[in-house]
Amino acid sequence: MPLHLTNISKSFGAVKALQNIDFDLADGEIHAVCGENGAGKSTLMNLLSGNLQPDSGEIQLNNKVVQFKNQTHATVCGIAIVYQHLSLFENQNIAENIFVDQFPTTRLGLIDYKKLYSETALLLQKLNFDPTLRPQTRVSELSAGQKQLVEIAKALSKKPAILILDEPTASITEDDVIVLFNIIRQLKATGTSIIYISHRIEEIFTLAERVTVLKDGQKVGVYPTVNLSKQALIALMVGRALPSTTNQRTKTEIVALKVERLGNTYIKDISFQLFRGEILALAGLVGAGRTEIAKTIFGALKKEEGEIFLNNTAIQINSPADAIRNQIAYVPEERKTLGLFQEMSIAENISSIFFTSNQPFFHDAAKTSRIASDYRKKLNINSASISQKVAQLSGGNQQKVVLAKWLSSNPEVLIVDEPTHGIDVGAKFEIYQLLKKLAAEGKAILLISSELPEILAISDRVLVIKNGRIAKELTTAQTSEEEILKWAM
């Protein structure tokens, strides 16, 4: 069933996630979609699967205009999606997961278990599923690769004409990847069209006939894979526009933070030095272990190996409180779930840093509200007053509140995790300026970002993280997005 998208646009507030996207998919084609983190791939897939509705533009399926009301509607029309994050019910068995929204029933309206299990067995057979596992097996007992296959079986149970696979190999082993690829090719042979999203460039070349490249919510182009090289594809993905900042390096030779052979379940053998006045960036794909490095330094994740030195003295950090006492601050990613007290005011949010056990017994409300008003002015937090609830602020202003909170603890080492995620261009620019100013004041800054242009614009050095290890250290002035991506992928 051919699919055509014309002029699709979608915005979230001030953020333009997709602008005037054209896309087409032929019968029995494997069409890859790629782009950096935040290029708009997920938004595009959500539009196709009915989870989001476009602001403008047209979706044509089988040469008829369609408007998907929700995911069920898209499924009825023949589009099924397999998500990047597994969305199975661990407490249910394979069959129940696959038929969750379409249980076969007996004449009395009860669940027809016989039919449920026989149909599931048939589907699993089609996918060459490990024969020792039965439809009655609990999903919690499966490996990540097997779970991914169950997800695909679930999508196939709806007999789709178009199957969307969002990073299907992100969490599975090499062996499972081979199994998965065979299945994908088999599906293609039976006439199913496939949209394949992946960060792994090799996979795109192995599987897809054409690839559509997205950048900053815009379409760069669509290219046949036969006459495209890996380098050429990376070059197409990079080079996003960004507000420019003045480039003044303030890095000193004084080591502020040094970590040696840091390791735990998520990261291995992490050693680096962070200098005063420096912005050191951790680059890498989502899930590479960047946040885990930060959280381990901050004491929010258990450190199993290695040592942390602050100003050349070894320090023991077993909890965030220890880190704060040592003047290390961590501005977490996902400000809504990890950073903010949504129902509380700006002043209360900023003051929340003054409740560790080494604070004086009585809370000095006058002092903290003075600090809050200072930062409201200094960081230009756009709000009615410091007693306004943070839930009412825009994303950029919320981020400034979280930054203000951590700056008021007067840190020497500031770790910022995706500080500009989901905020508009103006606020981004202000945050870049702020980080550079802090570095100029002698603070040591560890920046985690998925936006390569951001890393290139404000950092001094880059550590590329891959699979929980440092893959490469690069000097920002002498590197490029291509080089960083090459090490990250």
């Binding site: 965030p320 779930t337 990890l338 007290f341 129902e343 209360e348 409740f355 560790t356 604070q359």
Partner: protein
């Protein structure tokens, strides 16, 4: 301005109580507005309110404790047992009663904060265990307690019964400390966003452990007061107290999601329920209706809250 008063539960509830009191004074001028009646209302709600202070702190941090009613019974029974059968001196027996209550809270807190047991399940189980312990210790109940023990609740200061003074002191001190100390104010952050509180350097687990020890100690104290007031310890006392206290605290401005509520609200919530019950007794309305009306009031209060939040 009016909006502000209505969205602050301490003000809106306070005004409602005053309004109800004035209305009752007009309708029942000889029976309602008397010193005798007022002190009776306060005396009746003093036990509940002391426990409600702890419950408010728990609900601010987003959890609750169902075992408090049983702890009230247990601490009274244990103290009475030590006094009556083992002839312990009064201060020693009091300390033992309070300490064992704190230990029960410590067990609750440890299982909830450090082992991750759901608070409702943990305290529900403890509710049964502790009620059983109270029965084991006291059998059908212990009567004939020493004079000095009974004096704890039965004496008066400035013409007002002692339990009322204890209640006012506990409410006043906890309200002041919760609003002004870095230690107790942490509960608002824990209730607002537990993960963010943890990342802000607050030892969330230790605070949770503390809060369960705190409420159990208050319940232990309330149990001693109750036994002393009756001159007897009954293993059945405090039945249903936990739900009454949670009702009072929710009326007083707490929410099950945590993050909101003031300690004063616990007193006002209990006072509101006490005044409603008192008016109904004076008006000779059947006791059955009290429960029905209180239930309706609770639903109404929560609905009004929801409506105010939407605007």
């Amino acid at each position: 301005m009016i909006r502000k008063i209505f969205s602050n539960r301490v003000y809106s509830l306070g005004l409602t109580i005053i309004f109800m009191g004035l209305l009752a004074s007009v309708v029942f001028p000889t029976t309602f507005p008397t010193f005798q009646n007022f002190s009776q209302i306060l005396l009746n709600l003093s036990i509940d309110t002391i426990v409600a202070v702890g419950m408010m702190l728990l609900l601010i941090s987003g959890v609750f404790d169902l075992s408090v009613g049983s702890v009230v019974a247990f601490s009274g029974c244990l103290t009475a047992y030590l006094l009556f059968f083992l002839h312990w001196p009064v201060p020693m027996a009091l300390i033992a009663g309070l300490f064992s209550s704190a230990v029960i809270g410590g067990i609750n807190g440890y299982f909830i904060a450090y082992l991750g047991i759901n608070p409702m399940i943990q305290t529900l189980a403890m509710m049964g265990i502790v009620r059983g312990l109270a029965l084991l210790v006291s059998g059908a109940g212990i009567q004939g307690l020493p004079y000095w023990f009974n004096a704890i609740s039965q004496s008066k200061l400035l013409g007002v019964q002692m339990p009322i003074w204890y209640m006012l002191c506990i409410v006043g001190a906890t309200a002041y400390l919760t609003a002004n100390t870095t230690f107790l104010k942490r509960f608002y952050f824990i209730g607002g966003n537990e993960k963010a509180a943890e990342l802000s350097g607050i030892d969330v687990r230790r605070m949770k452990l503390f809060s369960f020890v705190f409420i159990a100690s208050l319940a232990g104290f309330a149990g001693i007061l109750l036994a002393s007031r009756l001159g007897a310890a009954l293993p059945t006392s405090g039945r249903g107290l936990e739900l009454r206290v949670i009702t009072a605290v929710i009326l007083g401005g707490a929410s099950l999601q945590g993050g909101t509520g003031k300690i004063q609200g616990a007193l006002l919530g209990a006072l509101f329920m006490g005044v409603v019950a008192n008016i109904m007794v004076i008006a000779r309305i059947s006791g059955y209706w009290q429960e029905i009306i209180l239930g309706i009031i609770l639903i109404l209060a929560v609905c009004i809250d929801k409506a105010l939040q939407k605007n």
